[in-house]
C-alpha cells in the first residue's frame, strides 16, 4: 500500500476510534459510571452534563477528522513528510520513528512489548521486593532489552542511582520508600 494511502487509512482509523470512544462515553460510561442525584436543579448542573458534552465533542471531532481524511487528495503529502525528505537530503540527525533499524536484534515491537512487561512487573515488584531492588532489576532489564553498548556504566548506574534516590527521598524528603519483604535498607 502506498505511504499516503497508509497515512489516510491510519487517520480514518483514528477518526473512527474517536467516534467509537465518544459513543462509548455517552452511551455506556456516563449512564453507568457517573452518579447524578435526583434533586439537580438544572440539566447543566448535573454531574453527567460535562462528560456527556465532552463525549459528543469527541464524536464530532472524530467525524470531522474522518471527513477531512476522505476529502484529502489521494496523492497529497504532509508538511512533515516534506521536512523529513529535506532533512534526509541535508543529512540531518534523527528522522522518523517509523524507520526500522535492525542493529539491535529483536523487532521493535518485541522490544517495547518487553518493556511493557518490565513496567507491569515493576508495579507488582515494588511492594514485594522494595522499590530500590525492583528499580535495579528494571534498569538492568531495560539495558538488556536495548542491548546497551555500555554494560559497565549501565551496571554501575543501575546500582548507584536507585540507592542515591532512596537516600534522597527517604532521608531528605521523608518519603516512606517501600522496603519490600526481604532486605531492609537503613
Amino acid at each position: 500500500m502506498p505511504d499516503n494511502d497508509m497515512g489516510r487509512f491510519k487517520d480514518i482509523g483514528l477518526g473512527a476510534g474517536a467516534v467509537l470512544f465518544g459513543l462509548f462515553i455517552v452511551v455506556f460510561a456516563v449512564p453507568n459510571y457517573v452518579s447524578s442525584p435526583s434533586n439537580v436543579q438544572a440539566m447543566v448542573l448535573a454531574p453527567t452534563f460535562w462528560p456527556t458534552i465532552l463525549g459528543w465533542i469527541t464524536v464530532l471531532l472524530g467525524v470531522i477528522f474522518m471527513a477531512t481524511s476522505f476529502i484529502r487528495p489521494r496523492f497529497a503529502v504532509s508538511e512533515e513528510d516534506v521536512s523529513q525528505q529535506r532533512n534526509a537530503a541535508a543529512g540531518a540527525v534523527g528522522g522518523s520513528d517509523d524507520a526500522e533499524v535492525g542493529q539491535t536484534g529483536a523487532a521493535p515491537w518485541l522490544r517495547i512489548l518487553a518493556l511493557g512487561v518490565v513496567m507491569a512487573g515493576l508495579v507488582y515488584a515494588i511492594p514485594l521486593v522494595g522499590m530500590v531492588w525492583a528499580s535495579m532489576i528494571a534498569f538492568g532489564l531495560m539495558a538488556i532489552i536495548v542491548r546497551t553498548p555500555e554494560p559497565v556504566s549501565s551496571v554501575l548506574v543501575a546500582i548507584l542511582l536507585p540507592l542515591a534516590l532512596y537516600a534522597f527521598f527517604s532521608h531528605v524528603a521523608g518519603v516512606a520508600v517501600p522496603q519490600g519483604e526481604f532486605i531492609t535498607l537503613p
Binding site: L14, A18, I25, Y33, V34, S36, P37, Q41, A42, V44, L45, P47, P51, L54, G55, I57, T58, L61, I64, F65, T68, P73, A76, S78, E79, E80, V93, G94, G95, D97, E100, V101, Q103, T104, P108, I112, L115, G116, M119, V123, P127, M131, S135, F139, M142, A143, V146, R147, T148, S154, V157, A158, L161, P162, V172, A173, G174, V175, V177, P178
Partner: protein, 501 residues
C-alpha cells in the same frame, strides 16, 4: 503596601543560600538536560518536580524556574554543535548556528546564544514584574463567567497551536478534559468514573499524568529505535564574541526579546514560534540579510533572544490569571498547587511576599544563567555524549521514584505507566501531548467556573455574556478559531503547492 515594602518583605525569602543553591542547581540541571538530545526542558522540569516536595515553596518553585530557563538555553548547545535542537525552541538556532560551527565558529555562536539569551531573559523578567501585577489587579474584578470565558479562550489557543493537525490537537485537548472529570463531582460530591476504586476519588494524580505523558513515551520511543540521537560534535573553534559583534546584534536581540515577551504572555504560543518570528524579523531588517542561513551571528542572536524572551513572560498569565502560558508553566502551576498556593489574582493579595520573591529570584537567575552557561559551553562534549542507553533507563527509575513520592502510593506509578502508553500511542498517531496536559489542568477550572456561573443564574446561559470582559473573551475565542481555520486552509493550499512541485 508600596513596591519597596513588598521587596523588603520578599528579600528574606530569596536572599539566602538555599534559594541561591536551588536556582543554581535548577539552571545546571536545565542546561544539561537541554543539551542532551532526546531530553527536553519539559521533561527536565517534570522530573525535577518531585524533588521540590521537601523544599520551601519559594525554593522549590525557583528550582523549577531555573530548570526552565537553563533548559531553553541548553537546547541551543546541540542545535549549534550537532544540528540537533535539544528543545523545539532551539530549532531556529540551527539555521545559522550550525553553519557557524561548520565555519569553525562554534564557540562564537554559543557565546552569542548565551549573551542573547541572558539579555532577552532579563527583558522578559522586567516585563513580568511590570505587567503581572497590573493584570492581576484587573483580574480581581473577574467572576466565574469571566474566568470561564478566559479559560475557554486559553484552551482554544493551546489546542490550536500545539501540533501540525488542528483536529488532532483538539482531540488531544478533549481527551485531557475527559480525564479531568475522573473523581468526585465538584458540586454534588457524587462518583464520576471511579469504578468503585477509592484511589480514583480524588481524580488522577497530576504528577503521574504529567510524567507519564512527557517522559515515558520518550523511553518507549527509544526502545522502539535505540540507536537514534547520534551526531558529530564540532570543535569550539573561535570562541569570543566581541563587544562590536554584540552591539551590532543588539537591535535584533532587543526586538527578539520584545517578540518573546508579547508571544510569551499569550497563553499557548510558546518559545518555538517566537524564535522563528524573531529570526525572520531580524533577517528582514538586517543589512546582512543575504548571509542569513549561511552562518550569520545575528541570526543566532535573534533566535535565542526570541526563545528566551518568552521565559519570564509565560509567567504573566500564570501568576496574574492562574492560566499557564505554555506546557512548562502548566507543570509549574502543579508545583504551586502542591505547596498549597493557587496562582491567580488573589495570590497578589494573599502571598505578595512570594510573588516578589519570585520576581527577585528570576532577576538573579538571569545572572546565574550567564555564569552557568559560560561553563556549560566549555563542557559541552561531556554533556552531549551521555549515552542514551544509560540515560533513559535512569529516567525510568527517576520517574518511578518521583511519581511514588507524591502520595506514597504505587497506584500512581501504575497510572503513570498507563498514561505513558497512552502518550506513546498519541505520539505515534501524531497527536500532541501538550494540549492534553493543559486541558487536564484547566479542565476542572473550566467546569468549576461554568457550574458556578450556572448556579448563580439558575442555569441561564445569558450570564456567560453578562459583561464587556466576557464579550471580549468570546470575541477573542471566535477570532482565534477563525484564524486557526484560516491557517488550516492555507496549509492545505501550501500542501497542494508542495505536491505540484
Amino acid at each position: 503596601m508600596s513596591i519597596i515594602d513588598n521587596v523588603a518583605a520578599a528579600l528574606p525569602l530569596v536572599a539566602n543560600l538555599e534559594s541561591f543553591m536551588a536556582l543554581f542547581a535548577g539552571i545546571v540541571i536545565g542546561v544539561v538536560a537541554g543539551a542532551i538530545p532526546g531530553m527536553s526542558a519539559t521533561m527536565a522540569v517534570a522530573l525535577t518536580l518531585p524533588f521540590t516536595f521537601a523544599l520551601q515553596p519559594i525554593t522549590g518553585i525557583l528550582l523549577l524556574l531555573g530548570v526552565y530557563k537553563g533548559g531553553i538555553f541548553g537546547g541551543s548547545i546541540p542545535a549549534i554543535l550537532i544540528k540537533t535542537p535539544g528543545t523545539p525552541a532551539s530549532s531556529a538556532t540551527v539555521l545559522d548556528g550550525y553553519p557557524m560551527a561548520e565555519n569553525g565558529q562554534a564557540g562564537k555562536a554559543l557565546g552569542m546564544a548565551l549573551y542573547a539569551s541572558c539579555t532577552a531573559d532579563m527583558m522578559s523578567n522586567l516585563a513580568l514584574i511590570l505587567f503581572a501585577g497590573w493584570l492581576a489587579s484587573f483580574a480581581l474584578s473577574f467572576g466565574p463567567p469571566e474566568f470561564f470565558t478566559l479559560i475557554l479562550f486559553s484552551l482554544s489557543i493551546i489546542a490550536g497551536v500545539s501540533g501540525e493537525s488542528l483536529i488532532k490537537g483538539l482531540l488531544s485537548a478533549v481527551l485531557g478534559l475527559l480525564l479531568a472529570t475522573v473523581g468526585l463531582d465538584l458540586v454534588y460530591g457524587t462518583n464520576r468514573f471511579n469504578f468503585g476504586d477509592p484511589n480514583l476519588m480524588g481524580g488522577l494524580n497530576f504528577i503521574a499524568v504529567l510524567i507519564g505523558l512527557f517522559a515515558i513515551p520518550e523511553i518507549l520511543a527509544y526502545a522502539w529505535k535505540p540507536e537514534n540521537g547520534k551526531g558529530t560534535v564540532r570543535e569550539l573553534g573561535e570562541q569570543h564574541v566581541t563587544w562590536a559583534e554584540y552591539r551590532r546584534c543588539l537591535p535584533s536581540i532587543v526586538r527578539g526579546g520584545f517578540i518573546g515577551v508579547i508571544l510569551g504572555s499569550i497563553p499557548g504560543i510558546g518559545a518555538a514560534p517566537s524564535a522563528f518570528l524573531s529570526y525572520s524579523e531580524a533577517r528582514r531588517k538586517s543589512p546582512n540579510k543575504d548571509n542569513f542561513g549561511k552562518g550569520e551571528i545575528e541570526g543566532v542572536a535573534a533566535s535565542e533572544a526570541g526563545n528566551n524572551g518568552v521565559c519570564g513572560a509565560t509567567l504573566i498569565p500564570l501568576l496574574a490569571l492562574g492560566v499557564p502560558g505554555d506546557v512548562i508553566t502548566a507543570i509549574v502551576i502543579g508545583a504551586f498547587m502542591i505547596h498549597g498556593l493557587q496562582p491567580g489574582p488573589m495570590m497578589f493579595i494573599q502571598n505578595t511576599n512570594i510573588i516578589y520573591a519570585l520576581f527577585l529570584g528570576l532577576i538573579i537567575s538571569s545572572v546565574l544563567l550567564l555564569l552557568v552557561g559560560s561553563v556549560a559551553i566549555r563542557l559541552f562534549r561531556y554533556i552531549v555524549h551521555v549515552p542514551r542507553s544509560v540515560l533513559l533507563p535512569g529516567v525510568l527509575i527517576l520517574c518511578v521514584f518521583g511519581c511514588y513520592a507524591v502520595n506514597n502510593n504505587v497506584f500512581d506509578v501504575m497510572v503513570m505507566f498507563i498514561m505513558g502508553w497512552i502518550g506513546y500511542f498519541m505520539m505515534r498517531a501524531g497527536m500532541p501531548a501538550a494540549p492534553f496536559l493543559i486541558a487536564f489542568i484547566l479542565g476542572p477550572l473550566l467546569e468549576d467556573n461554568f457550574r458556578q456561573a450556572m448556579l448563580m443564574s439558575n442555569g441561564q446561559a445569558q450570564i456567560l455574556f453578562r459583561s464587556p470582559i466576557t464579550w471580549f473573551f468570546w470575541g477573542l475565542t471566535a477570532l482565534t478559531i477563525g484564524a486557526l481555520i484560516r491557517s488550516a486552509l492555507k496549509q492545505d493550499k501550501r500542501m497542494a503547492l508542495l505536491r505540484d512541485s
